[in-house]
Amino acid sequence: MEAIGNFLWSIISFYNFLLIRIVIVLVLMLLTAAYLVYFERKISAWIQDRLGPNRVGWKGSLQSFADVFKLLLKEDIVPDNANKMIHTLAPMLALFVAFTTYAVIPIGPGINIAGYEIPLVIADVNIGILYILALTSLGVYAITFAGWSSGSKYSLLGGIRSSAQMISYEISMGFSIGGVVLLSESLRPIAIVESQSGWMWNAFVQPIGFITFLVSAFAETNRLPFDLPEAEPELVGGYHTEYSSMKFAAFFLAEYANMLIASTLIVTLYLGGWQIPYIETLGLSSGLVVALQIAGFLLKVALLLFFFIWVRWTIPRFRYDQLMSLGWKVMFPLSLINIVWVAFLIMIFKI
């Protein structure tokens, strides 16, 4: 009996409670994605002078669960012209990318419970930023596969647009991150957060990089000013026109999970992660400080998510050529200027 107990404990406590941390992050992500859908509908309603969903649960708070349940009960249709294997693979890939990216983003500094040093990140890897860049650019395959394998012209156009958009904006995104990495001298997300102590947040140190990264993040997540892959008026539903039931729900969930990742990434890279300026001067106990820092991180992410939704219901969609000229003629040079600016800062102040 004791042997079984020891074995179970060894599994649970493996690598600083890795399994428990994964479960917590996954549940948090799924819940956040579900409530993002709810708040998206609510905020869009408020902006358009409506009330929004208010029938299921208190003030409609269970609406997204009802939606998921409805989608589960729907018929799963695969078109005759579709390449069935890739058609099935695409939503899985979208979800895989959305869920795995979160592994390297730190929620807070490490905490110490009963002698165990527990880092508040699933994997503290020293190439974290590269890992995120690699996976988010893998995400475009999900959309392109979905567009190509559906055997429909609308889906194909959506997939092509998505890949073109991703290529254009990945570059300015990468160069913006270059500025951050120059300052922190590390690709480790935790080191990047720790380099932004006090008010030295990257958003204030390199505002141009912040703006270019923010805009690229909008393009990467296919959110509204750049949601050409699913432009409803032109392409019916874009890349997910031919998807129904749970496969459609997977794309939907992946979109919101991507939004969450983009927000946490912006907070980590530019808004100081879990850091609250001058909190150590208040003289609080270390446990309270950590709790406040986690709350601060979540608050920053929540505000950024609200910004994402807010922008979506304010700005109209770009035309395809405008999107390309913005990406190559504005965003790309701006991110290069940002790198030069950061280099100057380092040269003058020797940070």
């Binding site: 408020w46 902006i47 002078d49 009330l51 208010n54 807010w310 922008v311 219901w313 304010t314 700005i315």
Partner: protein, 169 residues
């Protein structure tokens, strides 16, 4: 005609530099949507909160029931005569009362009724009036034919409407 003769098309409004930068314009839009978000909403949450119509409203037609429990209608048939979609059917009979006539059968087919209010206008006795009731739903055609049981409504329930009719007619 040479190219020179065609006047260059003037744009109605050339964009200023600030507008071309686009970012300030984005913030203007964001401010507008944020302001709209906190505006009170006009939506009426219907089943919980019901619309109370003004007394000039033309809801479903009803027959006025006097305080003694009898209808005011004298079965003259004018309403049935004037009804454009022929929704009203009246069958008259005699009674010992002072008014001498009453409808044995009075049916309005609510699937036919167009809520024009002609019956109300033509009625010499103020016996058929358009009520303020707008919640009309039936599950079959038979239920849609309203007989005297559904049409008769006590006079005190529609005093607003009768008052309106007297002041504006």
């Amino acid at each position: 005609m040479s190219e020179k003769n065609i006047p260059a098309k003037k744009r109605i409004k050339d964009l200023t530099l600030l507008e071309k930068v686009y970012v300030p314009e984005i913030f203007k839009g964001l401010a507008l949507t944020l302001k709209t978000m906190f505006r009170p909403k006009f939506t009426m949450e219907y089943p919980e909160e019901k619309f109370i119509p003004p007394s000039s409203y033309r809801g479903r037609p009803i027959l006025v029931m006097e305080k003694n429990g009898e209808e005011r209608c004298v079965a003259c048939g004018l309403c049935a005569r004037v009804c454009p979609p022929l929704a009203i059917e009246v069958q008259a009979s005699e009674t010992e009362n002072e008014k001498e006539r009453y409808p044995v059968r009075f049916e309005i087919n609510m699937l036919r009724c167009i809520f024009c209010g002609f019956c109300e206008e033509v009625c010499p006795e103020e016996a058929i009036i358009m009520s303020m009731d707008y919640e009309l739903a039936f599950t079959n055609r038979e239920d849609a034919v309203y007989g005297k049981d559904k049409l008769l409504v006590p006079v005190n329930q529609s005093s607003d409407k009768i008052g309106f009719l007297r002041s504006y007619r």
